[in-house]
Symmetry: C2
Subunit: 266 residues, 2 copies
Amino acid sequence: MVVFAGQGDARRSMALLWRAEGAAPPRAPRGSGPRPALSVAAIIEAGVAIADADGMAALSMRAVGERLGRTAMALYTYVPGKSELVDLMHDHVLAELPADYDLAPGWRAALTSWAEDTWDFSLRHPWVLQVSQARPVLGPHEYRSLETLLRVLYATGLDSAALRRIVGTLFHCVRGAARTVAESRLAAASTGVSDEEWWQARSGMLTEMVPDFAERFPLLVRLETEGAAPEPDEAVPYLEREARATFEAGLAVILDGIEAAVRRGR
Amino acid sequence: MVVFAGQGDARRSMALLWRAEGAAPPRAPRGSGPRPALSVAAIIEAGVAIADADGMAALSMRAVGERLGRTAMALYTYVPGKSELVDLMHDHVLAELPADYDLAPGWRAALTSWAEDTWDFSLRHPWVLQVSQARPVLGPHEYRSLETLLRVLYATGLDSAALRRIVGTLFHCVRGAARTVAESRLAAASTGVSDEEWWQARSGMLTEMVPDFAERFPLLVRLETEGAAPEPDEAVPYLEREARATFEAGLAVILDGIEAAVRRGR
DNA sequence: TTGCTATCTTTACGCCGTAAAGAGTTCGCT
DNA sequence: AGCGAACTCTTTACGGCGTAAAGATAGCAA
């Protein structure tokens, strides 16, 4: 379900992405059809609503059209195709991210806030985790959110070459852990089986079919049993708690890494 | 294109995954049809060949059947469905990963080798990056590869709780950077437009449509221009070099983080 | 030979993205 | 007033997908 940007007419895509910027597209001079009942904005919002509620797999041109009381083909008057629609949806929701962070308490606090906001954002719109990051969309809100992150990162005093690498690592860490949570929720929703139930069924089957499991994979057993689940009865499923802990630990390591680089750099 | 494990009959899936372990499935006692011309192993290999060559999107039951000279439906006698086939393919290729690492030169060297091997593996079979990590497959090779990693990690002396988080962060870092490369190659192959051409076209369009770009996003411009591309004329595309650098930087940060935790722990 | 079983094919259903053609609406122009 | 261009939106259709259902065929036991 990975979707790629920039397939279609690049000029048209860019015009749509930055459309709010320029003047309103002038209505044709000679003859014009019925007043448009739809708009690019309405289509984007319908798409986001569907993807938020039922995931990227549920996003189809027919579904978007139906939600707007039109056929799928009606959308093609406004948007070149599905791939471009996803691009527009992506840039649209990126507008939700904060535009800047207070640097007074130091870059570490600001970067933590950024990571937290990105985490929340990714779980609010889990489908963004399935939009390809290679060949990004290049929309206004994507640029703005990157600019915001860079403002925090340049406050560390590191040079551009170092920051380029750190940006990627930060994103992979946050998005990777968020992806685990998102996929776990999606699996639970689409199969009706909770993580706990799934794991119980599978692990029971494992011990039955692989009786020498403990001898073959002693460290796995050790990892699983030692210090597992300090608070077992919680509203948050186990897998999500683990992913959240991974996110926090990863962030802490990266922050320490940056700090070390800063000290070394001076 | 994210695929989920464990939808179908869990017992059947597990039996297929661990099939080499138990005795060969006995042929039916009373009457048996024509000698099977296919086998689970052959189907898995055909699937891997297709996915390696043309990506996950090209993997269809019809394509696998055709490569074996059968119809798509013939596969269903051997495999419950596509989702289970992907699981089997995943566990199958995981067998390529080394089974253990020399710990004599220290855990840091071993962990670096592990990351390098995982990186190579992910780019040899880029479609594995699209297999969901939540609700893993629980096959023998997946367990073995995890056990191998844990052997290296326990050599650090850290406790299980700390290691659980580090495992996730390591995977996210390696897989995230590898994904960038894989997606960039896939985009280039499927659109026929190289990263460089794509970027040139887009950036030209940007400066035309957003004349005040430099004022609005000064840090982005700074990041892009400062210390960019020290060796511009290379066989390896720019985006891949950047992803590789991100991978190495991320790994270095994590290794430093582990080292700090080890020192703190003692 | 008969009959059961397992393999494999055929056909079909309901999805998908979207190309092509056409119906219907609104305007500028004569 | 009426024509014709430009536009929106629908209908139909094509080739793909995963897979359910039904049937043809092959191999063995009795």
